[in-house]
Amino acid sequence: MDDEERDLIRRAQHGEGWAFEQLVRRYDRPILALARDMVGNVSDAQDVYQGALLAAFLGLPRFRMDSDFSTWLYRIAVNKALRFRRQRQRRRTQYEASAAAPPPPGAAVADRQVLDVELRQQLDLALAELSGQERLAFTLCHRQGLRIDRAAELMECSAGSVKSYLFRGRDKVRKALGAYMES
């Protein structure tokens, strides 16, 4: 953590919103990307992103300077995303909605600029088949490119467990995308 970051954290701890914005700007893209891959559409990802960062802002006075800020922030985002998935799962069970509902039209439009729409949709469907831990391990290690030990730190489990989740999740994604990749 550099001096500038410490300074921004102190200011944000005193309720200065602009300092918090500057602070999270360093890490918020990976958090939004994590949310996007964990919840499967842009609109929900923005909710998770905003919920996580607001929770971080409100919880910042309790943050200790001897911890790593990015890890702390990431953990909040991971917990928010997992909680969102659980809540959505409950809602879906309640209303018997389809688990593989197509993403809303806005989501496809937003992603079209940078990622092939069909691949994005196939990936969302493939990720929807993974368990929460498999999806998280795949998102952190494959989609975000984090090392396995860093993912283990964020998931609060052993590196061996992350490998297990990651490899299982990876095999499922590869199988689900098989037809697309061959074509």
Binding site: R11, H14, G15, E16, G17, W18, A19, F20, E21, V24, R25, D28, R29, P30, L32, A33, L34, R36, D37, V42, S43, Q46, D47, Y49, Q50, G51, L53, L54, F57, L58, P104, G106, A110, D111, Q113, V114, L115, L119, R120, L123, T139, C141, H142, R143, Q144, G145, L146, R147, I148, D149, A159, K163, L166, F167, R170, V173, R174, L177, Y180, M181
Partner: protein, 306 residues
């Protein structure tokens, strides 16, 4: 576990950074001599990794989505933080915005100082301490100091000469200068600070007009959001109300549209209800639709996502 499975797990551990540096070194050396291992690595690299490279999740996110999310976060933070900026923050914000310009103005300031020194040694009548500059001749306005408790502000005016003005924020001359900065400054940070300073001075029609103009035409969405927040609840002014309605329907930035809803919440005019009704039905963003519906239902609503 078979040898083949073990080999594959080793390859995957290598690809995902799950090996120690010594193990990576050993793996790379073995690649040269072990054809089966090299084949296994090639198979993994050409499949899923070719279509979805590791780490690609960070780069395939559109910038526009990141920007929009940041603005929505800013709007949410503004609801959390209602207190004015502290002195220190204002200075930092200001200095950050003007740092590049300081280099340019350094030479000009030195010339002006020479002129002031020369003026002091020449005989002449004693005039007012801060000659008034009109907005037309003003090049730049900088805030040199601000006492939030007393409402006193010190401005440096850069025009044909550099002068200082000290006064009350409620002073129409000070407000006119800040309005000029709000509408004319090239730096978004400076314009944002001007909005922050003017937001408690909206009793003045000149200030409301400047904020309205910024809301409608500032190129920076952050400034437009701040202007919408500053104009919040001032719907009795037809110009303000129409401007908030206009951006609620037309602004291409979701954060500005959210701020416009917040600004129009307690306004009971029929035309505002009509606009809100339309937004609650036809707005493409589901969050904004929900906020508009909520504003219609309860007048003063809590954001739905909190």
């Amino acid at each position: 576990m078979t040898n083949r499975q073990a080999m594959r797990e080793r390859v995957l551990s290598y690809l995902y950074g799950g090996l120690t540096s010594a193990e990576v070194e050993a793996f790379r050396q073995e690649l040269a001599s072990n054809a089966e291992l090299a084949q296994c690595l090639a198979a993994e690299e050409t499949g899923l990794h070719a279509h979805l490279p590791v780490g690609n999740g960070l780069t395939d996110l559109p910038d526009s989505l990141v920007d929009e999310s940041r603005l929505l976060l800013r709007a949410a933070l503004r609801r959390q933080v209602r207190e004015p900026l502290s002195m220190l923050s204002q200075w930092s914000l200001w200095l950050g915005a003007i740092a590049p310009r300081l280099i340019w103005t350094g030479g000009s300031v030195a010339l002006v100082l020479c002129g002031v020194l020369l003026g002091r040694v020449m005989p002449g009548p004693s005039g007012p301490r801060a000659p008034a500059l009109t907005a037309e001749t003003l090049v730049d306005v900088e805030v040199r100091g601000y006492d939030a408790a007393a409402g006193r502000i010190e401005l440096e005016l850069v025009g044909l000469a550099t002068t200082h003005v000290e006064g009350d924020l409620a002073d129409p001359q000070i407000q006119a200068l800040l309005s000029a900065a709000l509408l004319g400054d090239l730096e978004a940070g400076s314009r944002l600070l001007a909005v922050d300073l003017l937001r408690h001075q909206t009793a003045s029609s000149t200030t409301r007009q400047a904020l309205t103009e910024a809301l409608l035409s500032d190129e920076n969405p952050g400034v437009r959001i701040a202007a919408a927040a500053a104009l919040s609840g001032l719907g009795a002014d037809d110009g303000v109300r129409r401007a908030l309605q206009q951006v609620l329907v037309e602004d291409d930035n979701a954060g500005v549209r959210v701020a416009a809803i917040e600004g129009l919440r307690n306004i009971s005019h029929d035309d505002t209800r009509d606009v809100m009704e339309r937004v609650s039905r036809f707005e493409p963003n589901p969050y904004i639709r929900a906020e508009a519906r909520h504003a219609l239902d309860v007048g003063r609503a809590i954001p739905t996502h909190l």
